[in-house]
Symmetry: C2
Subunit: 210 residues, 2 copies
């Protein structure tokens, strides 16, 4: 079936949201942890975290223009620190539940039963139940004028991960960590590894890694 | 195990690339199809496509500062059109192979055996073997000064997908389409649906969709 620009515009709003959110393919499932300047904790699930570069180590995340997620964005802009925590198959329902529109002063940690965890003097809360915890410092943010979403770029300053999941070459085995994936707005998936492939070269067919 | 900023900087380059590329979680696996102003086709795998908004329907993709992928970026900037095509489990090796540094005038379609497919007068080639094909028009691009990567934002103007995979509410069943996921630089995964969850509300526990 083929849809053109006009077809997409004619979709009812919720239908379009489900459809367009499905188009990019599988997405990462992460919880963003923050604290307001007066110490109130905030936690929200996002499927918009993406790799931006390894050297310096950078991650991007997109925030919607108007939503409950603005608490998280405001905290990041004010405190310059936040955490990104992988969602796993033991906490996926609690993670999804953080997207409910709780009152401004209600902590999503308390509301969902997820446990805040602090490391040394890093200001933002990690999620104790997450098996891969990342601490970031805000580098820059900008509004995408096309739709008023906000792109936030942070530098990775802290990573906490089970060493058994880190391969000799630095690759992290996400299945061992029980990390899950998202599709669309609300569908959660476990994964099964097909294989890793060697660095591709023009005169050599694709080869699986031992 | 805990890594701080200095630990990450001390990693050998390849180790750091594998490690940091794994941190965001599962990524989408897509092939970007373009054609140069004089008609030469180009195809490259990317794991950096992300959802940017449903209304207007927008997608983002990050291109690295210096790599074989610049052909694709140059074509997009010059022709303003490109395609994004889901990678599935029948073409994952061919898709990965498009990342080899082929000569500038060598088509990755020819080199890998993937088949270009054109629709009406849309200028960029789709991948015939892909089960979800998206046509985009360039909206804007910008260099992220922190690391000289380039963010390209496009408007979705064409979507081709099997109707059986589109649910009543607009959600697209990616497993039915055989779409796969990537982790790190080179690991490919199939997925298994856990469940879809209802829109979260503060006074209601997370509920699976029927």
């Amino acid at each position: 079936m083929i849809f053109n620009t006009q077809d997409l515009l004619n979709f009812p709003d919720r239908y379009r949201a489900h459809f367009i959110n499905s188009l990019s393919g599988y997405k990462s499932a992460n919880l963003v942890g923050t604290r307001s300047p007066n110490g109130e904790e905030n936690l929200s699930i996002v499927s918009s975290v993406f790799h931006l570069g390894a050297h310096p180590p950078l991650m991007g995340v997109i925030f919607r223009p108007h939503s409950v997620r603005r608490d998280t964005l405001e905290n990041i802009l004010q405190t310059k620190t936040y955490t990104i925590n992988h969602v796993n198959s033991l906490i996926w329902k609690e993670a999804h539940q953080t997207s409910a529109r709780y009152d401004e002063h209600q902590s999503e940690f308390d509301a969902t039963g997820l446990t805040p965890y602090y490391h040394d003097n890093f200001g933002a809360p990690f999620v104790a139940q997450s098996q891969l915890k990342i601490g970031l410092e805000l580098c820059q943010h900008q509004t995408i004028e096309l739709n008023k979403t906000v792109l936030v770029i942070g530098k990775i300053v802290h990573v906490e991960v089970d060493d058994n999941a880190v391969a000799e070459d630095g690759f992290i085995n996400l299945e061992q960590l029980d990390t899950i994936a998202v599709s669309g707005l609300d569908c959660y998936h476990t994964t099964s590894k097909i294989a890793r492939l060697e660095y591709a070269k023009p005169n050599k067919p694709a080869t699986t890694k031992a």
